[in-house]
Amino acid sequence: MVDLNDIAKSLVDMDISRTEELTRTAIDAGTPATEILDKGLVAAMQVIGERFEKGEIFLPELLMSGEAARAALNLIRPQLIAQQDTESFGGKAAIGTVQGDVHDIGKNILVMMLEANGWEVTDLGVDVSPEDFCNAVRENDFQVLGLSALLTVTMPAQEQTIQALNTAGLRDKIKVAIGGAPVTQSFADQIGADFYAADAAEAVRKFKASIS
C-alpha cells in the first residue's frame, strides 16, 4: 500500500519519475483515484502554491512540480472519468489571452496549476476575440473564465469581453477572473470582473473560492 504522503512529498520534491512510479503503484494496489488526487496531488500543490506565494520557490520549481502533478494526473484521469465523480474535480474553467495579445507564459502556468489542483481546464489560446470567448462559454459548462492580458494596450479587451458576455446574456452563467502584469484590482473592479489575481497560485485559491 502506497502512503499518499509519499506521492505528495515526491511532487513537492519535483521528482517526476518517482511521482509517476508511486502513482502507478497506488493505482495497482487499488487506491481510489479520488484519494490519490485529493491526498497526494492536490495536497502537495497547495503546499507548492503557498511556497510560491511567499517567494520561497520560483518559476522553475513551480513548473517542475506542475509537471510531476500532470504526469500523475494523466495516470489517474481515466479512472476519474470512468467514475464520473465530478466532485473529484476542482471545477471547470477556460483560460485565454485576450484579443490582440499573444503572451502566454502566465496563462500556461495558470492552466498547469489549475489542472494540478484537479480542475478541468480548456486552454483557449491567445488572441481570443470577445466573440470566441462568448462562444466557448455558450457551448460549455465552464464555471470560471480567466482572461489574461500582458500589455496595457490589450487590457481594454478584458473589458470588451465582459461587455460581450453581458450583451450575449452569458454574464450570469460564469465567474470572470482577470490577470496579467499591468492588471490591478482596481481595474478589475472598474470593468466588472469577479476577481483579479496577481499570480497563478493566488488565482488557484480564488478560482476555488469563487465556486464554493
Binding site: 519535483m14 499573444v102 494596450v153
Partner: protein, 350 residues
Amino acid sequence: MGTMTGAERMFTTLHLKEPDRVPVYEGPNRNIRETVLGPGSTAHDAIEHFDLDGVGMDDRSTPVWRGENLDASGLFFKNQWGTINRVTSESLPHPVEGAIKSEKDLDTWQPPDPDDPRRYQFLKEIVKRYKGQRAIIASFQDPFNVANEVRGASNHYMDFVRNPELVDRLSGLIRDYYLRYITNCIEIGADIIHITGDYATTKWPMLSREHFVRHVIPVLKSLVDHARNLGVYATKHTDGNIMPIIDLIIDAGIQGLHPIDPVAGMDLGVVKKQYGDCICLMGNVNCAYTLTWGTIEEVGGEVKRCIQQAAPGGGYILMSSNSIHSAVKPENYVEMIRACREYGQYPISV
C-alpha cells in the same frame, strides 16, 4: 537650450555627476511621431524635433534578425535564433515556439553570425549622423531572455532544476555571440551598451537568488565587463520587482538601471537612497497608466516627482517605466519631454 551636447549630458549623468539638465532620449513610436510631425516623418525628424540626448538601435530591429516569413501574411517568421515569432501591435514581435526542443537539438544548433554586416547598417547611419552630439546606444537582449525564447520559456525554467548544464551551455553560446556583437558595435561607434530583458515579474524575480548567482549574473557580468573594458558604458533594463536581486545586478558592474518599475511597486526614491551613489537610475514614468490614460497635468506631475526623487546630485535619466508603446497618447509623450526640460534644469529646484 542647454550648455552641453546630448552626449555630454548622458555621459555626465552616467558618471553620477550633475549635467546642465536631466537627459531624456526615449524616442516616440510611429503613431506619436506622425501625429506630431505629420505622415511620412522619419525617426531622424523626431530625434531632431524633440532634441533627444541619445539615439538607440536594437538588435531585433534589423532585417537580418527577423529572418524568413513562414506564411504569406507575414504574421509568423523565424528569427535569427531559429525561434518562431509572431508580429504584434507593438514594435517588437513575440516568440511562440522555441528552436531547441531537446538537448540533442543544441548539438546542431548554430547561433547567428555576429559579423553579418547587414546587422550594423542603421548603427553606422546614426553614428555618422549623431556621434559626438547625441549618445549612441546599442541595445540587445540579455542571454537569459534569448534562451527563454530559443528553448521555450517553460522548458528553460525547468532546465534550471533538471538540467543546469544545458542552461549554461545555451547561455554560453548566446553570450559568445553578444561578446562579438558588442565589440563590433563599439568599433562602429556605440557609446552605451543597453542590455534588455526582464528578470522579474510584478511580484518578484523569476528565479531564486541562487539560480541568478550561479547561471545568470555571471553571463551579465561578462558582457558588462567586456563593454566597459572597451571603454563604453553598460546599462541594464529589467521590468518587475527586482529588489530581492538588485544588489546582484548592480554588482555585475552596470552603470545604469531601467526602469525601476512602478507597476511592480519599485520606489524610485527608495532605490535612489539605497543605490544612487553607485548607479544611474533610468525610468519610472508610468507608461502602464499615466502616459497611457493620464491627463497632461498628471504626466507633468509624474515627471516632476521622478525628477524630485532621483535627479538631485545627478545620476538620473528620464524615461518611461517600460517603453513608449502603442497606447501612449501623443500629447502625453510631448508633455513628458516638455516637463523634463522645465523641471530638469540643474541645480534641481522642484
